[in-house]
């Protein structure tokens, strides 16, 4: 049986279920308890689990991320919420220098089973500091796993997997899509980390995306269908480890690929996908892989600049026509 749930509610169910299962799981971050979360993901959790396990912090990202790392090294399973990933930048020392390194520098003695989560990506006209995409930043770091997903059913299953995972996981959501609805199965299930999902089957071109750009990819696929172009649409869901098997499989069928990625172009997720494709599917490519990224700039406030900056269906369709060599 499925029910319709918003992304925020699917995420909450994941946290709630895992907290019920495991006493060592706790949630910590700014406004997560008494305010029910800045985006209401943790609504009601304080009531059920109390202030011992649902913990409001001061605005001190570096400090509470580090407290999470220490707690994880000492047997707990923290979920650290960042109001957005833009603010997690203050905590990168703990995520990158510590969470990611502990296992290696202790020669396997100290693992760091922790989830760092929050929204990533632009959310309208919020200007330079509040609009960044962090998947490629975190995915660059060995020792971390990175999930980025907005489909409610997947997000729930993946967050449960992330909480159970024995490695540090960076989990990226979407400020704009917390209200985005999807069918979510009743009862217990998880979605494995490291597997992409084919969201729509097609034969002419493969569109690869993740997080809220999936909506852009699907919209473009709808438009393309009207023009007789059949697009296969793949949701990466996990960024690291990247499931290039699913991508190669699709590419072998379509021979053409466009990557839609809100990260900046330089060393973005799209660059990695593109490298993997030319490395493992070179002989199947009928055209170079093309990507549609956010612009190679900071994102200003004004509406026309946001439009120019963001990937959209029109830009995707143009890229598809380019790889298909049609006008």
């Amino acid at each position: 049986m499925n029910r319709e749930l918003a992304l925020r509610d699917a995420l909450r169910e994941a946290i709630l279920e895992e907290m019920r299962l495991d006493e060592n799981v706790f949630l910590m971050g700014e406004e997560v308890a008494e305010y029910d979360g800045a985006y209401k993901v943790s609504k009601g959790l304080l009531d059920e689990f109390g202030a011992k396990r649902v913990i409001d912090t001061p605005i001190a990202e570096l400090g509470f991320a580090g407290i999470g790392v220490g707690a994880a090294m000492n047997g707990l399973r923290p979920i650290i919420e960042f109001m957005t990933w833009n603010f997690a930048v203050l905590a990168f020392d703990q995520i990158v220098n510590n969470a990611a390194k502990t296992l290696s520098q202790s020669a396997g003695q100290f693992s760091c089973p922790i989830v760092f989560r929050g929204p990533s990506g632009a959310a309208g006209q919020l200007a330079q500091q509040h609009s960044q995409t962090f998947e490629s930043w975190m995915a660059n770091v060995p020792g971390l796993k990175v999930i980025s997903c907005v489909d409610p059913a997947d997000a729930k299953g993946l967050l449960k997997s992330a909480i159970r995972d024995n490695d540090p996981v960076c989990f990226m959501e979407s400020e704009l899509l917390y209200g985005f609805k999807g069918l979510v199965p009743e009862g217990e299930y998880t979605v494995p980390i490291g597997l992409a999902a084919v969201r729509r089957e097609g034969t002419d071109v493969t569109l690869v995306s993740y997080n809220k750009m999936m909506l852009v990819a699907l919209e473009a696929a709808d438009e393309l269908a009207k023009e007789g172009i059949s697009a296969e649409v793949i949701d990466l869901r996990t960024i690291r480890p990247l499931d290039y098997h699913t991508l190669v499989k699709s590419l072998k069928k379509t021979n053409r690929m466009v990557v839609i990625d809100e990260s900046w172009p330089f060393a973005g997720v799209s660059s990695e996908v593109t490298y993997q494709m030319q490395r493992y599917a070179f002989d199947y490519l009928d055209a170079p892989v093309i990507r549609v990224n956010a612009a190679d700039t900071s994102l200003p406030y004004a509406a026309p600049l946001v439009d120019a900056y963001m990937p959209n269906a029109a830009k995707v369709i143009k890229a598809v026509k380019e790889v298909m060599y049609v006008k």
Partner: protein, 345 residues
């Protein structure tokens, strides 16, 4: 204009019962009213979706901006957080260019590139407008560092909220500023809340001025609903700093009447609490005081009100009728290098 500025700062002119000249009262009243009316308009236009994104208003905190600007010089720097319309207007940024910025228009303070959180103006020595909580604490310290380096006697007013006071950067900055005797005036605007979190839920140390004491920094608490009290504290602090003694820390106790941002219903506090501050509203109080103590006539006060009203109407007209930035502006102002080779794919 310049003579008014001088009198309000030097204290020459007709002193009132508590020693502040009439010009200073008129200056405070005009600035606070300008900020109040500007933000009331901004909220209205936000409701009409003319303004988008985050919008954090300063309503209730105007006396802080007023008491700072009646003391410090044009050459002094200021840096603050995202709740910054009032500080920017205090610096002399026009309501027109501020409103156009909120509208995301090319004629805005930063050409529509910053929006509500980021009015920056080199001309006004206004360093922003920062959206990352606490980021401006070391930045303001660095602005002060540069003043000392260049051998001026300017200072940098470095403002932040009670929530920001919990960032580690505060401690690092306080320590270096004290060690190096930097000309920085730290001001925490303690409005009681960081989003939904009251000050007493974030620390055992709820009297924030005490945070300076562990660095031996002169520190005091000030009534932020009173422009007089703010002015007097800033005067003491600025004298100390300009004499080369290093930083000073003021905890200015104030209150925001509205929610954290336009999207916050502010259910974490009582109506009575909000009312208790509104009862001491600085914009109203100063008007009453000027009339009661015959500092200014009804006519003089009305003239200021009329002037501000027209100013706001003009600001809206200007914002409405200004052009949006051209999409090519996306590629300007990312690098000083003019021909920077962007990845264009």
């Amino acid at each position: 204009m310049n003579t008014v500025v001088d009198k309000k700062k030097t204290g020459k002119g007709n002193p009132t019962s508590d020693g502040h000249p009439k010009e200073r009262y008129l200056f405070w009243f005009e600035l606070m009213l300008r900020i109040r009316r500007f933000e009331e308009k901004a909220l209205m236009m936000y409701g009409q979706q003319k303004i988008r994104g985050f919008c954090h208003v300063y309503i209730g905190q105007e006396a802080v901006a007023a008491g700072i600007e009646s003391v410090i010089r044009r050459e002094d720097g200021i840096v603050t957080a995202y709740r910054q319309h009032g500080i920017a207007l205090g610096r002399g940024i026009s309501a027109k260019s501020a409103m156009a910025e909120l509208y995301g228009k090319a004629t805005g303070v930063v050409k529509g590139k910053g929006g509500s959180m980021h009015f920056l103006s080199a001309e006004h020595k206004y360093f922003g407008g920062n959206g990352i909580v606490g980021a401006q604490i070391p930045i303001g310290t660095g602005i002060a560092f540069a003043e000392k380096y260049k051998g001026t006697d300017n200072l940098c007013v470095t403002m932040f909220g009670d929530g920001a006071a919990r960032q580690g950067a505060l401690h690092e900055s306080f320590n270096m500023a004290m060690s190096w005797k930097l000309p920085v005036l730290y001001i925490v605007e303690n409005n009681g809340y960081a989003m939904g979190t009251s000050v007493n839920r974030t620390s055992n140390v709820v009297e924030l001025y005490k945070m300076g004491l562990s660095y031996d920094m002169p520190s005091e608490a000030v009534d932020g609903m009173s422009p007089e009290a703010v002015h007097e504290a800033i005067t003491r602090a600025a004298a100390h700093i300009r004499a080369g003694n290093g930083p000073y820390f003021l905890e200015i106790r104030t209150y925001r009447y509205k929610g954290h941002s336009v999207s916050d219903p502010a259910k974490y506090r009582t109506k009575e609490e909000v009312q208790s501050y509104q009862d001491r509203d600085p914009v109203k109080m100063i008007e009453v005081k000027m009339l009661d103590e015959k500092i200014a006539t009804e006519k003089e006060i009305q003239a200021i009100k009329d002037k501000i009203k027209i100013e706001m109407e003009e600001a809206i007209d200007f914002a409405e009728n200004s052009p949006l930035p051209h999409p090519d502006e996306l590629y300007t102002d990312n690098y000083m290098q003019k021909d920077y080779p962007f990845i264009m794919d």
